[in-house]
């Protein structure tokens, strides 16, 4: 176990190093002087000089990188040009919304994608299977923002059941009831990803059900439901679990759209606004944090896969 984990962590660190160089460089790939671009046309020469000074832009580029990376390792991602606060603070402000949105979305994906995929597989070829597979195809092919807009039109604007935008923190009055603000966004975000997991679960169940060991299980005379859950599903989940790394990557990019459509004060919307404001330190910080999160999630997915499949040496 130890050697594998250390190897994987080493690989993640190398990836992070490469990513940090890309993230660091992009500020220098902006055509023209980054400081004038960030501050806009109205900036006075004094402001430009001050910001150049603060960002250390007059140092050699490798010194700039080392300073930036060293600070980042110590949890200092620089200051937001727009908010005039530390970037970590800006990210922390959006974290509650984004993390809760991601968690609820994941719950939908697991709760809907896997059981419905099982149902479609055990009813293979019937109208239930065809209906569910058609629905999955539809959901997987429509864009998140479109689903989001329709959910708003029907359940928020039309029926008035749920709020259509914003999210007041559950810690500032309102309590858990505020989670209802995340209901429509999480459904919009979950829909295409749950559809993919549904299709993967179904296909994987059907693949496994043709394996010889399933016939052995049936021959024992155990109940068919037990054959499905303890033998077929247990093996089919291996493929599904390894897909969750990709699902997470898809969630990150689609969350940006969803938070914008539903006006949620999350990290995704912060990033969009920061792009419009040319607040490069925030953009850099968010990308760096996202890359770290992605690496950690993939490490966890890999490890859990190895725990589920005894054939893989740790």
């Amino acid at each position: 176990m130890g050697r594998y984990v250390i190897g994987r962590i080493g690989a993640a660190a190398a990836t992070l190093f490469a990513a940090s160089i890309v993230i660091f460089s992009f500020i220098h790939l902006i055509p023209g002087d980054p400081v004038s671009v960030m501050l806009g046309d109205a900036a006075t020469p004094e402001q430009v000089a001050a910001l150049r000074e603060r960002m250390g832009l007059d140092e050699p580029i490798w010194v700039q990188y080392l300073v930036w990376a060293g600070n980042a390792l110590q949890g200092d991602l620089g200051r937001s040009i727009f908010f005039e606060t530390p970037v970590t603070q800006v990210i922390a402000d959006g974290a509650e919304t984004s993390i809760l949105l991601a968690l609820i979305t994941m719950i939908w994906i697991v709760l809907f994608g896997i059981p419905v995929g099982i149902l479609a597989a055990i009813r293979q070829g019937t109208w239930i299977d065809q209906g569910l597979s058609g629905l999955a195809m539809l959901l997987a092919s429509v864009p998140t923002f479109w689903v989001g807009l329709y959910l708003i039109l029907i359940f928020a604007a039309g029926l008035g059941w749920f709020p259509s935008s914003g999210y007041p923190s559950i810690f500032e009055g309102g309590g858990l009831a505020n989670l209802q603000y995340l209901l429509l966004p999480s459904i919009a975000l979950a829909a295409p990803n749950a559809a993919l997991i549904l299709r993967l679960t179904r296909a994987s169940m059907l693949d496994v059900s043709r394996e010889d060991f399933v016939r052995t299980a049936r021959a024992k005379g155990i109940r068919p439901s037990r054959v499905v859950l303890r033998h077929i599903l247990r093996n089919a989940l291996l493929a599904v679990v390894s897909a969750f790394g990709f699902t997470f990557a898809a969630l990150i990019s689609e969350a940006v759209v969803t938070e914008t459509v539903f006006a949620l004060p999350g990290i995704g919307r912060t990033v969009v606004q920061s792009i419009l404001r040319r607040d490069y330190p925030v953009i850099q910080g968010v990308i760096l944090v996202t890359v770290c999160l992605y690496l950690v999630i993939n490490l966890l997915v890999d490890l859990s896969y190895r725990l589920l499949d005894p054939r893989v040496e740790l």
Partner: protein, 321 residues
Amino acid sequence: MLSVTDLTVSAGPRTSPIGIVRGVSLGVDQGEILCLVGESGCGKSMTSLALMGLLPPGARVSGGSVELDGHDITHLAPHRRVRAGRGKLAMVFQEPMTSLNPVTRIGWQIEEAVRVHDPDANPTDRARELLEMVRIPDAANQLSAYPHELSGGMRQRVMIAIALACRPRVLIADEPTTALDVTIQRQVLGIIRELCDDLDMGVIFITHDLGVVAQIADRVAVMYAGRLVETGAVAPLFRAPLHPYTERLMACLPDPAARSKGFATIPGSAPRPGEIPDGCAFAPRCPRAQDVCRGGEVPVVRPEGGRRALCHFPLAEGETA
């Protein structure tokens, strides 16, 4: 004990079904090993799966019956047989490498069967006892092994242990040793022979290898194109085959003790289901075939000694086809 009457298995559309097993009748008694032999594709596996109620999707029992101790179990899936108290058939499959669940321990897989068939037993104790019965060394520790940690021969023993957990009256073994090398094969054959005697169960042993038949069989049923063309006790059948197909199969045996004339093969190939000719299916490859063989019913020959063959021109003793 197990009695199969006129079993027919078909595939394809119901309006134009393709016959895979075409009227097989056989019986097995306690403590007896019946070997079902025939070339690959003649329907041996489909026959055994039909007996177990485990036919793959697309294939179905379209006629005949399977009775165990007088109870009709033809159309019962295994779990329904258990519920009806008739789950007394068990099977060992050809592929030891893929027939065990790769992600669970073998103890778990045996105990699962014990719980269904022996609800009062302690599953772990019984599982260990079963592993000892198939002569797995260090049985108590092997319970926690995963299938990939075991060799092919060991896995096949585990498969036999799982089958025995069902306390079968009849054990069906579908080419259980084909995937194993010769020494391991001999050990597994020894275990099956011994269990058959000790537990007084019937065994249907499927193989395409007459050498294996000679080692293990009490009785033999020779299958060709979905039919049993000859059945009988092993010694007389080997000494004086009635059906030219049986005789030709034996002529292909490399073992000189079993009347070999080199490494002959039967020219031509067995017909596939759906392309089986009228009359005797072996006629196109049979040196003795005449016009009468190529259509109509083939007569049954029943000399003394419980033997039976489907042939117009059965061989006399010492004759070759």
